[in-house]
Amino acid sequence: MSSTKRQLSLGLSIANLGYHYAAWRHPGVPADGNMDFRHFVHCAKLAERGLFDLIFLADSSAVRDLDRPAIARDMEHQIVKHEPTALLAALAAVTRHVGLVPTASATYNEPYNLTRTLCTLDHISGGRAGWNMVTGFSIDEARNFGLDKLHDSDTRHARAAEFAAVLRGLEDGGTLDHAGPHFRLRGSLDMAPGPQRRIPIFTAGTSDNAEELAARSADVVYGGQPTIETARAYYASVKGRLAKYGRSPDELKMMPGIMAFIGRTKQEAQDKFDRMQELIEPRLGLGLLTVSSFPDYTGYDLDGPVPELPMPGGRKSEFIDIALDKVRRENLSIRQLYELVSGGFWHLGVVGTPTMVADVMEEWFTTGAADGFNIQPPCIPVDAEDFVELVVPELQRRGLFRTRYEGNTLSDHLGLHQTQQRAMPLPMPAAGA
């Protein structure tokens, strides 16, 4: 097998105990694992055994929606967690190959500090650091940093673009003299460049601003796309913006999330899925609907029809329309609605055999919907183990995934090293270099 053949990139998104709302209740999930370092060591080693490109830690610097007790939270087991750069620096010391991608906000960090942190992570890990650059979407986060409301999308994305440019100016060991609308700084990191010299930047988001930021600044885009049609459109839209920045389509990888319930037979997978759905506490199910911007159905019969209630704040959303349409056509109950929403509403969800999961991934990969995937196990570590043991060999058999690590750095794994030597254009005139 030639190493030049296009292959999948795979990330393991370790969202603590899993992406399913009842993950922590699964007998194979350590309910206190979110603060237990050993849980993450186990997951990181598992990702490495599966030859994953990277482990990924989503994040927001807040406990979200805690002030809505009537509603209950959507994911109680994610309330407390580790800070991603700290956790990944610790995991760097106990792994050898796998890339390490922390989420950190460009809105609530300063570029000098964060660049220093990321370059330190790159040094500690021998070139395995990445950065998932987010701009923040949560009012709860804003309130932890002195703000009463979220900055608007334009402001957050302009700051992020400038932040990325500053990181690019500092990370290679050079001296930067930068004066922009959001940051003024002069100096160098006082550090040799990290082994990668250039830290892969990840972004996510579907707004026009988010896509533009991805095209300008990102090496990898983490997408939340529920269907192959939307995923192809998103793929084409983001890649279509690259030329404007003098970049070619293969300089940016699209890695949507995938949540797979895997069984050796289809029935086994379906049983797994059904068992998890039954574990969703009704309180949480209703909370999930409310934080997903559905009306609050508290007080109505869970097994009765979904009542016609006004949308909160008169909001409209394509996703909610699709879901409510399905409710009407199929006569679904409130319970069935929250089960629907919990089972891969945002992301690609698959319930099936390893062959079926690999089929879906292959189709997305070969028809312009994905360059790789961020694996979002419903329950961690159990479903990550299943993915590594059952799906990875199937992908390898098809020649879609590596059979050993060929490079040493995250950029190597992602295949970014040949194409990304050029410096990224700064979003605004900046003196010096």
């Binding site: 700290a86 620096a89 610790a90 932890n144 940093f145 100096g187 006082d190």
Partner: protein, 349 residues
């Protein structure tokens, strides 16, 4: 109770240049050597190069018993971010983290944060005090027993056991709660570098380790007396703050050119003589232990430790801390109950 034999000397280590910290491998070798030699903690001072907090996280996973205290320059951090990073590493290290808060920014660093104006020294100390208070309060966001995690009933946490902070001060506005469980130590020991009245005031309010720079035993005793008064004024017990003067040991018989000016106190002589000085200070009550300043090489650490530490141990002043000891344990500070638990206990009483 005889104060001399029941106390345990705490030994910290601070490493310094020649250059900056460019290779993590070297820092790891130094940390592991320091741990093997019995040092209670390593103070990761903010030298040019790799970030001390990120290094502390990696060291937490590669060491077993040594305490880790990274320097944090207050002007360049936000309390919420720093609180969760440090809490996270306290969980990873099973309670071996501390933190050093540097109120005033290094001028060289300041230009790198060009959009942050440099505050005057008094204001910087006031901001640092507010900063330290917010961080400590955020650590108390969740009670130690807030998480029930009952798989059968589906109850994950007890809604009565978290606390909004709703802090609104001169420098910071932070709502909370922290998104990290209460760190194993509850409160991470805060190290303050002394040397000025403002720093001493900060240490008396919230510090648990004072790195003093007395020029001799008399000065150290004087500093202890001053700090006891300041602690009393702040409503804290004298033992709430551990006094660990900075010592620059110079092993050898022949006097060399001693460094002059402010800085750790040079102590010259054979290992026995240096150990004798440390014991004298410790026995007199002027110091609870020391922060030993050494060049950043495994050889220098080993040379000091092999000569001096066995003498301290024979004297009964120092003994190795047991595996599993937290940094608070090593400092003799004990577990820190949550402020809310204390308030509740007071309300009952």
């Amino acid at each position: 109770m005889s104060g001399v034999t029941s106390r345990r000397m705490t030994l910290g280590l601070a490493l310094s240049g020649p250059g900056g910290v460019t290779k993590f491998r070297n820092m790891l070798a130094s940390a592991q050597m320091a741990e093997g030699c019995g040092f209670d903690f390593l103070w990761l001072t903010d030298r040019p190069g790799l970030d001390p907090i990120t290094m502390a996280a990696a060291l937490a996973a590669t060491t077993q018993r040594i305490g880790l205290i990274p320097s944090c320059a207050a002007p360049y951090h936000r309390p919420y971010n720093l609180a969760r990073r440090l809490a996270s590493i306290d969980h990873i290290s099973r309670g071996r983290m501390g933190w050093m808060l540097q109120p005033v920014a290094d001028a060289a660093l300041a230009s790198k944060f060009g959009n942050l104006p440099l505050a005057d020294v008094a204001t910087a100390h006031a901001v640092a005090a507010e900063f330290a208070g917010v961080v400590a309060a955020l650590w108390d966001s969740w009670d130690d027993d807030a998480f029930i995690r009952d798989k059968a009933s589906g109850l994950y946490f007890d809604r009565a056991k978290f606390h909004w902070l709703d802090h609104q001060g001169a420098a910071f506005k932070v709502r909370g709660p922290l998104d990290t469980a209460r760190p194993p130590q509850g409160l991470l020991p805060l190290l303050i570098a002394g040397g000025s009245a403002l720093a001493e005031q900060l240490a008396a309010g919230q510090g648990e380790i004072l790195h003093g720079l007395p020029a001799d035993l008399r000065a150290a005793q004087g500093e202890r007396a001053v700090m006891s008064r300041r602690l009393e004024q702040a409503g804290r017990a004298p033992a709430a703050l551990r006094m660990l003067p900075g010592i620059l040991p110079i092993l050898g018989r022949t006097p060399t050119a001693l460094p002059s000016g402010p800085g750790p106190l040079p102590v010259l002589g054979t290992p026995e003589a240096i150990a004798g000085t440390l014991c004298e200070w410790f026995d007199s009550g002027a110091a609870d232990g020391f922060i030993i300043h050494l060049p950043d090489t495994a050889d220098a650490i080993e040379a000091f430790a092999a000569g001096v530490i066995p003498v301290l141990q024979r004297h009964g002043a120092w003994q190795p801390s047991p595996l599993g000891a937290t940094l608070r344990d090593m400092l003799g500070l004990g577990h820190a109950p949550s402020r809310y638990a204390e308030q509740a206990a007071q309300a009952v009483a």
